[in-house]
């Protein structure tokens, strides 16, 4: 038999086995977690699962799913021990061996699950979404357990549960901040910046001397440091969202300009000759050939700019703002050592930023389905 030993299951077996032995031999409640019946039972279960899996060398997606379920059960036990039994801050080595065993099993489980391939599109999509979700959930769990187990001070790093609690408890503030920063500054700046970048690109393309004169200047503007520009914009446009929108305009203008100018020269010589042979005018040429050909580049800029706009608006709020806004909240709550609020704002920024990017990526798929990178025969 040339079966390769399943290293991850073997590691899980070794870790949980060692933990079980230590748990049974040194059942001294004073030294930490050892001796709790729930913990002993969980260790025994992990031992047997890891042993069984490495013995059978089971690697189908179904087996992977079963492993994931076991790991989730183990994770729940770990959280119950930390918070329900009050062991946070005084866990022993056996506990960390238990976590290591879980980690090894989680790895093997996701690994098996990732190999899933089905002709049924819905099922395939379900598994394809499940994998990053599980991966993220595992990272959050590890973060929680490490912070609670080692009693890391909250100022350094609050556990995800504290962030979630703070998030749920300050929905009104977060909503107001989101509205101020995203709905006003980011969206307005994004639309104006991308729109004017696009319009100037078409103009630059039409008037050749602008290409020589204006593009280097645009390059210069894009190299301006945001921390220098933001206070100036505040002086020009006041404390409210308009100055942040102006910063966003400056940040998003150039990527759109450069990408559109490049995209407009993307149509091939043959395709242009074809238009010429039809006696097509400038605008027909632009709308029927050059703009469609430029779309992949334009969407590239829209995606880059969606993240740049978030960063620009939040950072700009550090330089003067009314008492609302994501950047304002972050800078003041850091000053008050209210780090879980800062993290809650980071979560909002992450969700808004990814959603924004995701919408642009979806639109890109819809409009550039014909491009070689998306084609489906």
């Amino acid at each position: 038999m040339s079966r390769r030993p399943d290293l991850f299951c073997l590691a899980a077996l070794a870790f949980s086995g060692a933990a079980l032995v230590m748990d049974l031999l040194f059942s001294d409640p004073a030294t930490g977690i050892a001796g709790a019946p729930l913990f002993t039972a969980a260790l025994a279960l992990l031992c047997s699962v890891a042993g069984w899996w490495s013995w059978k060398s089971a690697t189908t997606p179904g087996h992977g799913l079963a492993l994931v379920v076991v790991v989730i059960g183990g994770a729940v036990v770990a959280l119950v021990l930390l918070y329900g039994y009050g062991y946070a801050g005084q866990v022993s080595a056996t506990f960390w061996l238990f976590i290591l065993a879980l980690w090894a099993l989680a790895w093997r489980g996701i690994d098996c699950l990732a190999a899933f391939s089905s002709l049924n599109a819905t099922r395939q999509r379900l598994v394809d979404t499940l994998i990053p979700v599980l991966f993220g959930a595992w990272l959050l769990f590890l973060w929680e357990v490490l912070v609670a187990g080692f009693e890391v001070p909250h100022v350094l790093l609050p556990p995800p549960s504290a962030i979630a609690a703070r998030f749920a408890g300050s929905l009104d503030i977060l909503r107001a901040d989101f509205y101020q920063t995203f709905m006003k500054a980011v969206l307005a700046g994004y639309v104006i910046g991308c729109g004017s970048g696009f319009a100037v690109a078409v103009l630059v393309d039409r008037v050749p001397f602008l290409q020589r004169g204006l593009l280097p200047l645009g390059n210069l503007v894009s190299a301006l440091p945001i921390v220098g520009v933001a206070p100036i914009m505040v002086m020009w446009f006041g404390f409210d969202w308009q100055s942040k929108a102006a910063v966003v305009v400056i940040m998003t203008f150039f990527p759109m300009l450069v990408n559109t100018v490049t995209g407009l020269s993307e149509a091939g010589a043959l395709e242009r000759d074809l238009m010429r042979s039809y006696g097509a005018g400038y605008w027909q040429n632009l709308f029927k050939l050059r703009l469609p050909a430029a779309l992949p580049f334009i969407f590239n800029a829209l995606k880059i700019n969606s993240t740049l706009a978030m960063i620009g608006a939040i950072v700009a709020e550090f330089f003067g703002t009314p008492t609302v806004g994501m950047g304002f909240r972050i800078s003041t709550e850091v000053g008050r050592m209210n780090v879980d609020m800062v993290w809650a704002e980071i979560v909002v920024a992450a969700i808004a930023g990814s959603a924004f990017y995701g919408v642009m990526a979806l639109l890109e798929r819809k409009f550039t389905f014909w491009h070689a990178s998306y084609r489906q025969n």
Binding site: L270, E271, D273, L274, M275, Q284, W370
Partner: protein, 264 residues
């Protein structure tokens, strides 16, 4: 039809074209004299760099001549282009990947500003002509190379031009597909009685298709020989094994040799 009633579709007199490059002038065309009359199938043949594509592009007003005169349908090439007097088929299909087959064929009609009903009728008619009904809603990248090239022929025919300019349209296709398309093209030409100017570097293709073969030679690009071949219009692929065919093919090869096309 007596020869005298046939009108000249293309007339070149002492036509020359010189490209100025950093390495000095390149004489792409030198003193070309050529008449193409209505209903003819004329092939330009010659090695790379002999100016056959440049000559076709000059007829289409995609290049400007430096001296001499050229008339297309009795007017300048530019006027002929703006009148949409010709349909041009390129080496590659040049279909726009974001448009369906139907909309690709309709593209020139949109640019002309025809009404939707008229566009649809012409698209259906020309797709039927190249045997591609049923593919209207596919995208170009979902079709084979031969089918794509047929779409581009339908697109050129859509303008309903008297003159069809074809620049090595089947050059990128394999020989089996090429033979098949040659036969289809011949049938199409026979049926529609259009004038066709066809650039190729394949001797069998030129001899099989043409009523007149223009043999060209490079440096400077010039015409070596003009061979008339009045074969029956309804010839089939078997014709390529006949003695008449081989005789004309031999004469083309001799012409190419005289123009130093086979020199090292």
């Amino acid at each position: 039809m007596p020869e005298t009633t046939k009108r000249n579709v293309v007339t070149c007199e002492d036509l020359s074209l010189t490209f100025e490059t950093a390495d000095g002038p390149v004489f792409a065309l030198s003193e070309i004299n050529l008449q193409v009359s209505q209903g003819e199938f004329v092939s330009f043949i010659g090695p790379s760099g002999c100016g056959k594509t440049t000559l076709l592009r000059t007829i289409a007003d995609l290049e400007k001549s430096t001296s001499g005169s050229i008339l297309v349908n009795g007017v300048t090439p530019e006027a002929a282009r703006m009148n949409r007097d010709y349909g041009y088929v390129f080496q590659a299909s040049a279909l726009y990947p974001w448009r369906t087959i139907e909309n690709n064929v309709a593209l020139p009609l949109e640019i002309m500003g025809l009404a939707k009903a008229e566009r649809d009728a012409r698209v259906a008619k020309n797709l039927a002509l190249v045997d591609l009904l049923g593919f209207e809603n596919k995208f170009p990248w979902q079709l084979s190379g031969g089918m794509q090239q047929r779409v581009s022929i339908a697109r050129a025919l859509c303008l309903e031009p008297e003159l069809l300019l074809m620049d090595e349209p089947f050059g990128a296709l394999d020989e089996i597909v090429r033979d098949h398309l040659n036969e289809q093209l011949l049938r199409l030409w026979n049926k529609t009685n259009k004038t066709v100017i066809f650039v190729t570097h394949s001797i069998p293709e030129a001899v099989f298709l043409s009523t007149k073969i223009v043999v060209m030679s490079p440096r400077p690009g010039r015409i070596i020989d003009v061979i008339d071949c009045g074969f029956a219009r309804d010839r089939t692929l078997e014709f390529r094994e006949s003695p008449e065919f081989l005789e004309v093919a031999h004469r083309v090869r001799e012409g190419l040799r005289a123009g130093h096309s086979y020199d090292d």
